[in-house]
Amino acid sequence: MELQRSLADFAANDVAVFAISYDGIDVLASFAEKHGIGFPLLSDEDSHAIRALGLLNDRLEELHAFYGVTTRDDMHGVAHAGTFALDAQGIVTDKRFLGSYRVRETGAAVLERSFGARGSVRGPEARAQGPGVAVRAYLDEAHYRFFQRLWLTVDLQIETGLHVYGRPIPDGYVPLSIDVEPVDGLVVGDREGPAPQPFRMDRLDEAFVVYSGTATFALPLTFTKRAGDLVVRASVRYQACSATDCLIPTTLQLELPLSQINHVDAEI
């Protein structure tokens, strides 16, 4: 997750960071020294807390079989890999577990998606302007590695008095779509974002749902191959309309360059 890189950003947002694993204290001490870790690495050597929390990874064999990895005896006792976000009262407000220890988000992504803040660690950003809509797109990080998950965030600024259509939509209209050009090994997950709001057009019997004002969407990109340095090419297609008129349907292209890194010192 390269958490240490984002530690100052978490601190600036008043978020304390803790990491828990089944490693012994001596393992954690040398790890912390080697990597300059500035947050608590808690040792749950007998996996007692991990078990009590219900987070013991009892599907390790299954996951390892999937990846063709042999499970050693000393691998038992590991936790499922993921993060909890706690509010100031200690209540869990978000939980990010990706189902596979291989797939990892970045610290910057967790800061933004769990705590609603953007920090100093940022990826490439691109902007485009079309009829009635300004688009800004960015990635969490400027690099990816094998089984990295990066979020592609797309901000739409829709001019006052205009809207763009969501789905479902009657035939003949253009809904908002955000697509990523295929890259070998790149898996694009479901788009997250606000729900479109009902909108009724004068003199028309058809029902529409629309976005207006500012709308921020995000798509999870998981890189399952080492595809080298590459460019994430996103396209945003939409048609902006007012209550009475429509502007021409438009596709905006945004290019976000990413470099591949091969070596990651540590999963945390």
Partner: protein, 56 residues
């Protein structure tokens, strides 16, 4: 459906749920000092990360 490139598990009910208070946890840190998670965060929000291992 394309073949899955990585397994997925539904984590909704695995571990503490959203909306619940995170349970009390007290464990030694890398210096061997006992850390009570809620006491250590004080009034701050917190990120609690579970990971596989610092060793493998």
């Amino acid at each position: 459906m394309p073949p899955a490139l990585f397994p997925t598990i539904d984590f909704t009910d695995i571990g503490p749920r959203v909306g619940e208070r995170f349970p009390d946890v007290a464990l030694p840190d890398q210096r061997g000092e006992l850390v009570d998670l809620h006491a250590a965060r004080g009034e701050r929000r917190a990120l609690v990360v579970f990971y596989r291992s610092a060793r493998w």
